[in-house]
Symmetry: C3
Subunit: 356 residues, 3 copies
């Protein structure tokens, strides 16, 4: 049988359900002495495992569950298995699952086929794979993981517990905070796209002498790019989560806990507030400011500043409700055109009669 | 003179034209004893080479051809060179050209600057370049090619005759079939984009413990990304061809022989049937199901399930014919607006007169 | 204090302001004997540094400037600091800043952990980092920089002063000119996306035996892809600047000094003239020809040939002015629909009365 998981769902450690309840501020209804060793979906959970249920409407699935406990919303009060009742089952599941998978950092040290410049001090607590390259004067925190093929330029700073996955490039001078995850193939700190054009159409490169700063708890998906600033910093603030193949241009600021879904493109000098959410393939023109909590539907194109909390859709983007109504009408454009032609004819006829 | 080909068009091997005719189920009209050693476009072919003609309307180009034979559609019956008449010249040309370029696999073995974990057994029939990294317990088939900079995680399985080009990353636990081609810079098995958000707006990562399964004869273009499932598998079925810079999110299933053109983005848990064709930059919202043979024009945005064979365009996507008519009308919107204002005025005048 | 620059703004070399004036064809008003050692924005410049001002309307910022000189447009005639008056301050700033940052090439040679095939001759004047792989018969010019993780296939040609940044892949047979910059993660010369499909829906790969040719002074951004031609060349002509995550398909020709902004996608066999500008996320269908100087707004989708100088927007793309007016009207579609329904009713009523 093929096993479709890459990590052991059942760890060696066991957790008291009381400990888990405390972590997620939940209430236990059932066996208070239960030991939990794994996490699995409701359908596949076995003894010792905990599952979750997002909505009380799905509570009829509980009797079939073969796991030992289920995280449920508060309005599910009783069940055939031990319940862990919480405000937000989705969030509680993420926290408990993460805890169950947690493994202590085991330092493997620096691989003999890694290449570190002389002026860089490598701490003992590191996992540095083969074919990693580190430039001069790089500052490395504790418990950093550098997978194979990672390239780190001169004068980079990397905080504790940060993970750079395979084939990531961090160009010179960039700064990464703590617990940052950079997925394979990402490029952080490539030159911004800036040229000055003469009157014959030739382009001269504008030197890009700024850096990228990535704050704590940021995650950036595979093959995404964050360009260095022309001057100063391109700044990804704490808690931001960026999906795959996203482009963040020079001098952009992305506010705390914002979400950039796959293939988003943000042009130069945009400033995003906190908890902005940009759907897949959204594009921002340069110098656009988005207030806190702005949300844009997939494929939107945003050209103008937006106030906090605004929801957008379309290209050029308009308020999402207006966009959804306009989009429905768009499909009716051909018959609207016909109606208009007919009306014009009829009205002209009425006018002609009038004049007779 | 610059030579604009990277491979020898004229190989040492020669093929009987009868052998080629058999491969493509074609009929020879001309020299049955011809030996073919190469393939070239009609304009540049020389003696010993075979060319092709897609449409009989282009048969007037045949007299100028200096090659030895030409693959033609069945309705071209005679010509000034030897003809190989087939149902589908385009397909026959691809098959014959591929055969002519075919080279026996010559195992170069494992480069001394590659890095393979102890528990992985490397077969003799392998081409492993410098700076390749392979994790623990990886299962490798026969005649695999691993170009420089490839990084393979723990517990990966790779089938016979598969090629991983330069700087490809295959994360832990992923499974690749036979004759798979993964182009440079691809990332297979990066974590899916999944977070649970608390009421203060902080995001907790949901563990992504599934894998990616890629079946036989799949090809994936440069710098594309296929994310591992949250649970279970992200599944690319046999014969699928994916272009460059494509994003396939967690838990997506792509049906057999589907085509995903460059920069397509597919959100989480979508299910595509067989022979789906998505044009460049198409986006799919999460959990969308597309039936067999669905086709979407470039830049479409698909939000809803689609029945087999449907053709779509636009964002949000509508049936392609409706989209094409609406798109024409879109350009006329300003004058439609003017017409409407004028009509409203005229009708109001007519009504006013009436009431007088 | 965190320093937000990755390069020393103040170099050891000092330049006479007269020398700088000559470089940019400018006029000095002030101290003709000034020595300039660095470049900085108006707000942060200090003694010895030169700044710039794009528009004369901003001349009120000059008194606060603490730098030694400011590049200004011609219509600023006098100021509290030494002025360098030029036609195009933006361009002059780029040229002067570049000069000030210029460093002599210091050859570090070939790193002992690089891997070069026997038949390739490496010139002395090279910077080749660790974990670079170079194939057979590669031709290398003078003063080339190859960062870590670069992979170069067989028979590649690379001109003088070209820079391949970290983890770049150049596939076999491709040709790069002089002073080319390829940013991290780029893939040049991956196979074009070409298949022939049989009547059961199975795809046969069409061999892609052409190459990519990149002329002098081209820059290509991070993680972009330029595919090799099916036959002949995919050709990026001199002075073209390509941003990050751009896709250029097989057999495309991009004319001199064209600009392709991030996430642009160009399908097979398109031909772009000189100084074409494609905004972010623009898509081109295959075989489209764009005349010199065509400009397309971000997210446009271009399906038809375009005459020189045309400006476009929308998907499918239409002339930009028409698009901007249509886009405004688009948001009014719901009320247009309402108006139409009302008008139809009113006109029907008028007609009915008439017939009575």
């Amino acid at each position: 049988m093929a096993v479709d998981t890459c990590e052991d769902n059942v760890s060696d450690r066991k957790f008291d359900i009381k400990e888990l309840a405390e972590l997620v501020d939940g209430e236990i209804n059932g066996d208070f002495n239960l030991k939990i060793s794994g996490f699995a979906p409701l359908e596949t959970a076995v003894s010792g495992e905990i599952s979750f249920l997002v909505k009380s409407a799905e509570a009829d699935k509980l009797p079939a569950c073969k796991g030992s406990a289920v995280i449920v919303p508060m309005d599910v009060e009783e069940g055939p298995v031990t319940l862990l009742r919480v405000e937000n089952p989705y969030l509680a599941a993420a926290k408990i699952h993460s805890l169950l998978l947690e493994k202590p950092f085991v330092a493997t040290g620096t691989h003999k086929m890694a290449c570190v410049a002389d002026s860089t001090v490598v701490p003992r607590q590191i996992n540095m794979s083969a074919f990693v390259t580190i430039g001069e004067r790089v500052t490395l925190g504790e418990r950093i993981t550098l997978e194979a093929g990672v390239v780190i330029g001169d004068d980079v700073e990397i905080g504790d517990d940060t993970v750079l996955k395979a084939n990531v490039t961090i160009a010179s001078g960039c700064r990464l905070g703590k617990r940052v995850i950079i997925c394979p193939g990402c490029v952080i700190g490539s030159d911004g796209y800036g040229y000055a054009t003469d009157n014959r159409g030739f382009h001269t490169k504008r030197p890009q002498v700024g850096v990228v700063q990535i704050d704590d708890d940021v995650e950036i998906g595979a093959n995404s790019c964050v360009d260095r600033a022309a001057y100063g910093v391109t700044h990804i603030k704490s808690g931001v989560k960026i999906d795959n193949l996203v482009q963040v241009a020079h001098n952009v600021v992305v506010g705390e806990n914002s979400l950039l879904v796959a293939q988003v493109g943000i042009a130069g000098s945009c400033r995003l507030g906190r908890n902005v959410v940009l759907g897949g393939q959204v594009g921002l023109a340069d110098h656009v400011n988005l207030g806190d909590g702005v949300m844009a539907a997939a494929q939107s194109g945003i050209h103008n500043d937006q106030k906090p909390g605004v929801r957008l859709g379309g290209s050029p983007a308009i308020p999402i409700k207006q966009f959804m109504r306009a989009a429905i009408q768009y499909g009716k454009l051909p018959e609207m055109g016909q109606d208009l032609r007919k009306l014009k004819k009829n009205v002209a006829a009425l006018q002609a009669e009038k004049e007779e």
